[in-house]
């Protein structure tokens, strides 16, 4: 297998039932191309971590197939696991180990021969080299997160799963993480990350998936998604205060601000007509003048919230 044209990750009809009957994943079908950054969004308990855990071999699937780089995760587990790196959500580390030793341990565990030079390269790229001889228990939360990334990269994976990589991480470190992700993408690594932070998906993802109640309810190119689902708003700052909307404007999706000094018109960018021209005409006819205008586009967060509410 192992062809550039084929998806690096292919999931077909994946289901996961936990003992007790709870269905964590429902007929998941997903394909991810080599070199992509895919962000999986979803509320708590949506199934994001279960999905990642199945692909990585931590959770057994109930039915369906998963292949990585053309290899089945059950039959060819050695091949698939050796090309996958996983950064878990929890800060689970061997507290009494040193940074260098724990990263070297991970490299060996994943079947790679010892290489102090490669471990050094990884540690330097994550600004951990100065702390290489420190016990992990002495590191801050952010540094421990870096150690987990270093462990996941120690065996030179081509697919990297980041399960909420910036949870509980401060803004500056979060930006560092995004930079690391971009560098990895530049090296050809496929990255699948789960996140609660919509801005994170907006910032670094090529495609965005939304999972809710164990189902993928959307998987779309980020820019297309925002263009397709994004609502725009035209905000008009009025010259004179309005006490109520005139009857003539009742057909428009207009909201009047509480102080009566602002009109907000919501329109769909994908519609045949935005209605802006006719609105302007009708405003003129109604004798409503404005001092300023600007437009805003709904964020991925709003899109996400709307999708989850609809699917629930």
């Amino acid at each position: 297998m192992n062809s550039d044209e084929k998806p690096i990750l292919r999931i077909k009809g994946l289901n996961k039932f936990y003992s007790g009957g709870f269905q964590a994943l429902k007929d998941i079908n997903l394909e991810i191309e080599k070199g992509e950054i895919v962000a999986l969004l979803g509320p708590n308990g949506a199934g994001k971590t279960t999905l990642i855990s199945v692909v990585c071999g931590i959770v057994n699937p109930s039915s369906g197939t998963v292949s990585v780089d053309g290899y089945d995760i059950i039959k060819d587990f050695r091949k698939t696991r050796s090309i996958i790196g996983l950064v878990p959500q929890e800060l689970t580390t061997d507290s009494f180990e040193t940074v260098f030793n724990t990263v070297s341990f991970s490299r060996g565990l994943f079947g790679k021969p010892p290489s102090a030079a490669y471990v050094e390269k990884v540690l330097r790229s994550l600004s951990l080299w100065d702390r290489k001889d420190d016990m992990i228990m002495t590191l801050s939360g952010g540094m421990k997160r870096r150690v987990l990334i270093a462990k996941a990269l120690s065996h030179e994976p081509t697919v990297l799963f980041l399960d909420e990589p910036t949870a509980g991480v401060d803004v500056s470190l979060r930006k560092d993480m995004w930079e690391i992700v971009r560098e990895l993408k530049a090296e050809g690594v496929t990255i699948i990350l789960t996140t609660h932070y919509i801005e994170e998906a907006e910032e670094i993802a090529d495609r965005v998936g939304v999972i809710n109640n164990g189902e993928i309810i959307l998987m779309e190119d980020k820019d297309k998604l925002m263009a397709k689902l994004g609502k725009k708003q035209l905000i008009l700052d009025l010259r004179d205060q309005l006490s109520a909307l005139p009857e003539k404007l009742a057909d428009y999706e207009l909201d009047l601000s509480e102080n009566g000094m602002q009109l907000v018109y919501t329109f769909n960018t994908q519609g045949d007509r935005t209605g802006i021209t006719s609105l302007m005409d009708d405003l003129k006819l109604a004798g409503i003048a404005f001092r300023d205008l600007n437009t805003t586009q709904s964020s991925l967060e709003e899109i996400f919230v709307n999708l989850v509410e609809e699917s629930s």
Partner: protein
């Protein structure tokens, strides 16, 4: 085979021993020395020979077996339980390592530590008594088989346990009593009936008897029976470990 994976687990576990040197090596040596002082010198001096050898020498195989069993179990059970407890087990489950390789790493390290400890106790014993070993190769065979078998047993215990109490309850309430009642410090000939017959249902008796035979050529049961029983126990444990990994019992949901 993922040789680097096996070595990584093995070295990681052996490094843990280095960090806990006092608990792993020094404490058992001191405890053993105390046994020799109390049972060998103080009480032993008032006991005539047992089965033709001095009491101090008689208890050496029993002491080695006591340490082998308890430390094989505790090393292996803690080795696999701790990653489960702190959550780092995710790495092993997502790594390209098979059941056999994981077992070789963890059980190999636990058994190595137990064998090293057994040899240290043997050396310690030589300071207190005039040590004779009639069949050194068979002695090593018994020590190795016991260490591997009970490390496998400890590994199973570590997978089964979901709290620290479960981890310690079997060694404390099952293994230690069996060792003490398995002829470690006495010959079962010294027991009245029906306890002498009851003792033969104690599996540890066969281990101690076999090891004692390798030292002094005296045994309570036949050497072949001792060897067979330890091999049966080892393969039974291997079967259970294979089943646990195949089903993902308490490891993979």
């Amino acid at each position: 085979m993922n040789i680097y994976g096996i070595m990584a687990i093995y070295k990681f576990e052996m490094a843990r021993t280095k960090r806990t040197l006092v608990q792993s090596i020094v404490a058992p040596v001191i405890t053993t020395s105390l046994y020799f002082i109390v049972f060998g010198a103080a009480i032993g001096s008032r006991i005539d020979q047992v089965s033709g050898i001095s009491y101090g020498a008689f208890i050496v195989p029993g002491l080695i077996m006591l340490n082998l069993l308890t430390h094989s179990i505790s090393n292996a059970s803690f080795g696999i339980y701790f990653p489960k407890f702190v959550g780092t087990v995710y790495e092993m489950l997502s790594a390209p390592v098979s059941t056999l390789e994981v077992v070789l790493g963890y059980v190999g390290a636990a058994a190595s530590k137990a064998v090293i400890l057994g040899i240290i106790i043997l050396i310690t014993a030589s300071f207190f008594i005039d040590l004779q070993i009639a069949h050194p190769i068979m002695m090593m065979v018994f020590i190795l088989l016991t260490a591997v078998s009970f490390s496998l047993f400890g590994f199973i215990l570590g997978i089964w346990a979901d709290n620290f109490e479960k981890l310690s309850v079997v060694p404390m309430l099952v293994v230690t009593p069996l060792v003490f009642l398995g002829g470690s410090f006495y010959s079962t000939d010294m027991l009245p009936e029906p306890w002498q017959t009851v003792s033969h249902f104690n599996p540890v008796l066969y281990l101690v008897s076999g090891l004692r035979w390798s030292f002094y050529e005296i045994s309570e049961v036949s050497v072949m029976l001792s060897l067979t029983s330890i091999l049966v126990f080892m393969f039974a444990c291997l079967g259970v470990v294979y089943y646990l990994f195949k089903t993902g019992y308490k490891l993979r949901s």
